[in-house]
């Protein structure tokens, strides 16, 4: 499941405030998974903060998303800056579909010239990565039927 979230950055929020909002979104999402730890997500985002604030302030997250992968969910989080941020519509609710996730990784983008900064940050926590996120597993997620037609037929017709 590919999901998207866009967060309003400057002039609506400073880079540090924007990173706090992104942190809240990530940790609230991870907290919906019974097998995952909110505090671990908070620690990871805290370790990533020095690089994250630079990515926000430099406008890099406007173009290169931070990607949270938890179970089958791939959520790309970007920012919007400048005049467009003033009218941006945000959805800060936890990303759905993570409840059964058993692991997660936060992928930070590594745009030029901040590659070394991001590399140093992701080295500080096992849940962080500066690699390109793996492709979304579309085949298993989208090809499976949403309704079990055989079970429904049996329930309705008794056959």
């Amino acid at each position: 499941m590919l999901r998207y979230r866009t967060i309003a950055a400057a002039p609506v929020r400073s880079a540090s405030a924007t990173w706090q909002v992104i942190t809240g979104l990530v940790t609230d999402t991870i907290a919906t998974a019974a097998a995952l730890s909110r505090s671990e997500a908070e620690q990871a985002m805290s370790v990533a903060a020095p690089a994250g604030r630079m990515l926000v302030a430099g406008g890099h997250l406007d173009r290169h998303p931070l990607t949270l992968i938890a179970g089958q969910v791939h959520c790309e989080i970007t920012t919007t800056s400048g005049t467009a941020a003033l009218t941006a519509e945000e959805n800060l609710n936890p990303v759905p579909g993570v409840a059964s996730a058993e692991t997660f990784t936060i992928y930070l983008p590594s745009p030029d010239p901040l590659g070394a900064v991001v590399s140093a940050a992701v080295a500080g926590h096992a849940r962080l990565s500066g690699a390109t996120p793996p492709a979304e597993p579309q085949a298993t997620a989208s090809s499976a039927p949403l309704i079990d037609l055989a079970a429904l037929r049996k329930e309705v017709t008794g056959r």
Binding site: S14, A49, P113
Partner: protein, 169 residues
């Protein structure tokens, strides 16, 4: 009518300060990275620097933010100045713009500095300003003998703009 104007002034000055602060700090981040200067301290001090510069722009007396690069040889170069100018409320369009693509091209041409080069940040003022944690009086290095290139306007906001000037050997 008066109360509406007052509200708009407060709104735009606050947003202008936030926007220009991010623009300047984001540009310093990118500049340090391009020059090859370790930015870990800059990252750790982010909240402190952000709060101070934001407050000083909101007050309207921050003249410029200055990034000095101190080489192991003792030479101070390059020096990057970020002058801030203020416009009368209502005189500018209510737009927030940045020259990020042009900035990326400009920074890509910079030469790296020798390993071990460190940096210092300064702010200069045109009037009274509130004290901010982590900031105190200091003296800038001389820029005598340095050549300069003016980048022009980094970005604009309704109540002000920020530019950049690059001084080098």
């Amino acid at each position: 009518m008066t109360s509406v104007s007052t509200h708009n002034l407060t709104f735009t000055r606050t947003h202008t300060a936030t926007y220009l602060t991010d623009l300047i700090l984001g540009t310093i981040s990118n500049t340090l990275a391009h020059l090859g200067i370790a930015a870990s301290r800059f990252g750790r001090d982010w909240d402190m620097n952000e709060a101070a510069i934001n407050a000083w722009i909101a007050e309207g007396f921050l003249a410029q933010v200055v990034l000095e690069c101190h080489r192991p040889s003792g030479v101070v170069a390059p020096v990057i100045e970020f002058p801030v100018s203020y416009t009368t409320a209502g005189a500018a369009d209510a737009e927030f713009t940045a020259s990020r693509a042009r900035l990326a091209r400009f920074l890509a041409k910079l030469d790296q500095v020798p390993a071990g080069t460190t940096y210092r940040l300064f702010c200069t003022f045109t009037g009274p300003h509130t004290p901010q944690p982590g900031w105190g009086p200091a003296t800038r290095a001389s820029t005598g003998g340095l050549r300069s290139t003016t980048f022009g306007t980094l970005g604009r906001a309704p109540d002000g703009s920020a530019g950049m000037r690059y001084l080098y050997r």
